[in-house]
Amino acid sequence: MTERLLVATFGGERDIVDATRAAKDAGYHIVDVYAPYAIHGLDKAMGLRPSRLPWICFGLGLTGAIAKLWYQIWTSATSWPVNVGGKPLSSVPAFVPVTFEIMVLFAGVGTVLAFFFVSRLRPGKHPKVLYERVTNDKFVLVLLQNDAAFDVSNVRALLERFHVERIEERLTEAGR
């Protein structure tokens, strides 16, 4: 199945945010917006929900901390108990620093890997760049022409209010 896309290019931050918001309000289906940097407020204009990655980060951090605390208690008190200076075998306060470090390690590295996974980023992946200047100085809004009511001239009139620089129609394989 192929999809018909409308690809609109803009030259400035304000224009892309306003155009995205207007397209959203007019009920068009926004496939994605491409930008050279993270634009504050663009996610809200697109109607994106906040990322759930913080929960993954929290879960991984907790896992790392519990696992490492258990491991320290197990090695020091069960597997090979050594009396060091008469201290209790399971001296939990002394285990806090390493527990903390491993929590940070799990949470940090794990969150980044989860981010790569959900965003389908992997080493050597061939980039599907719509327009090579989108990583430099251009902003691109992609709309889906999903029904017969989608009238290109109406959309063009809407986007021209926001100084659109170029509009083109593209066909793409579904799933992109």
């Binding site: 304000r14 491409y34 050279p36 634009i39 470090e101 980044v112 981010f115 965003s119």
Partner: protein
């Protein structure tokens, strides 16, 4: 949004740059052939590193006896260098993580280089404890791994084990943080370069980044999470380094003030090193519009604040020694200021407490040459701070019969020179092949301090 930006704020980036101009300016040094000046500095750095490698090889082959250590002074030059380099690294994390959480947007011009500096400094730091082991091929013994000797585990109550974990995690997280920040910029290079090799390499490492805002949203979330994790991490790392000393019973080491004192000192010395590097980069690569006098002033203010903290810690140590009524503690501090190594103490006090006070004057703060020399002196002073704490305390402990003195051998000095060589070699390679300024982030602050009419490009 731009509407809400006060026009009382000064622009962070000068010269009314367009997005395209930012990409061009930052990528310009990468597109050119290596300059003669770059080759000259690179060869000097490589030569210094080579000297260090010869020294380390000789030391590993012969043993720790090639150093000036003795029964009394078991830690000296190498651990001084270790703490010095770790401290340098901390400013990079402060700039990239803590200033990010505090929304100090001027950090965007310097964070990339500062993070690179962190990674290279931690590499330099990590070498010293390993070679100090004397048998570095057994360095993996500090890691708990399943073995046939019991299994015998490491002692998790030992600050040295905490230190190993802290430094390794710090290195890993710093590297990940730096790489995540680099991905969008690598994609920028991939899409504009004409060189096939460059496109292949940046294409591989940019992970298929295409500027999708859905990815940007997650990216921003991850960046915030990493900043939130790196902030307590950086504090924990130097805290744990200070515990290497504070949990012992040597007078002059056994002090509860050590963790905050070490963290403040680390940020202080790190900022001096960032300043040293940035002033050179700014001049050589013509980044005056990006690293402006405003940035230099802001960093100078951090230096003044941390110099004050360090100065306060010096005085507190003396006060506590006097007030404690402990004669060993009192003697340790009188010996620092008036004993055989008093020269090292006073180099430290002058460079770290008195010289930075010059930065109170705006005229000096906005004079890059003056700031450069002050930063160098702070680097020297902070190296001596670690020498004073570590070596002087050890030379005079409880029993006068066990007192000794210490002088570094040529091997130790060559190793220190070698670590600087390694640091600069890595930094020069970074400056040659990767964007020194975070292109994507700088584009985000272009409108800062400008009144916008619709668009500004």
């Amino acid at each position: 949004m731009a509407d809400h930006v006060s026009n009382l704020r000064k622009p962070l980036i000068l010269g009314n740059k367009t997005y395209e101009a930012v990409t061009r300016d930052v990528c310009h040094p990468l597109d050119q052939k290596s300059s003669k000046a770059w080759w000259m500095t690179f060869l000097v750095a490589m030569a210094m590193m080579g000297l260090g490698m010869v020294a380390v090889t000789y030391q590993i082959e012969t043993g720790i006896g090639t150093w000036g250590l003795n029964n009394t002074v078991g830690w000296a030059f190498d651990i001084t260098n270790f703490v010095f380099w770790i401290g340098i690294g901390h400013a990079g994390t402060l700039i990239s993580a803590i200033l990010f959480l505090f929304r100090q947007r001027w950090r965007t011009s310097v964070n990339r280089s500062a993070e690179a500096m962190t990674i290279f400094a931690v590499i330099c730091a990590g070498i010293f404890p390993i070679i100090h082991m004397g048998r570095p091929w057994l360095a993996f013994w500090v890691i708990p791994y399943p073995n046939f000797r019991g299994p015998l585990w490491v002692n998790f109550r030992s600050p040295l084990v905490w230190d190993m974990f802290a430094i390794s995690v710090y290195f890993t997280i710093s590297l990940v943080f730096w790489y995540v920040g680099l991905i969008p910029d690598l994609a920028t290079i991939r899409d504009r370069t004409t060189s096939k090799i460059k496109r292949a390499i940046t294409g591989f490492f940019s992970l298929g980044w295409n500027g999708s805002n859905k990815t940007w949203l997650r990216y921003e979330t991850v960046y915030l999470l990493l900043a939130g994790l790196a902030t307590p991490l950086v504090v924990s790392v130097h805290t744990i380094v200070s515990w290497d000393f504070a949990t012992s019973i040597i007078p002059g080491w056994h002090a509860t003030i050590f963790p905050p004192y070490f963290v403040a000192g680390a940020i202080f010395s790190g900022f001096a090193m960032v300043m040293t590097l940035m002033l050179i980069v700014r001049k050589v690569l013509h980044f005056e519009d990006y690293i402006t006098l405003h940035h230099i002033e802001a960093m100078c203010k951090v230096i003044i604040a941390t110099a004050g903290m360090v100065g306060l810690a010096y005085m507190t140590e003396f006060f506590v020694a006097a007030y404690s009524g402990n004669e060993y503690e009192r003697f340790a501090f009188v010996n620092r200021a008036l004993g055989p190594y008093a020269w090292a103490y006073w180099i430290m006090a002058v460079c770290n407490v008195l010289i930075p006070q010059l930065l109170w004057w705006k005229k000096i703060r906005t004079n890059p040459t003056a700031v450069f020399f002050i930063a160098i002196l702070i680097n020297v002073g902070m190296w001596f701070e670690r020498f004073v704490i570590i070596t002087i305390s050890l030379t005079r402990d409880y029993l006068p019969a066990s007192w000794a003195s210490y002088a570094p051998t040529s091997i130790e000095i060559a190793t220190l020179i070698g670590s600087f060589g390694l640091f600069f070699t890595l930094f020069l390679l970074f400056a040659r092949f990767l964007p020194m300024i975070a292109i994507g982030e700088v584009k985000g602050v272009l409108s800062y301090g400008h009144r916008q009419k619709g668009d500004h490009s």
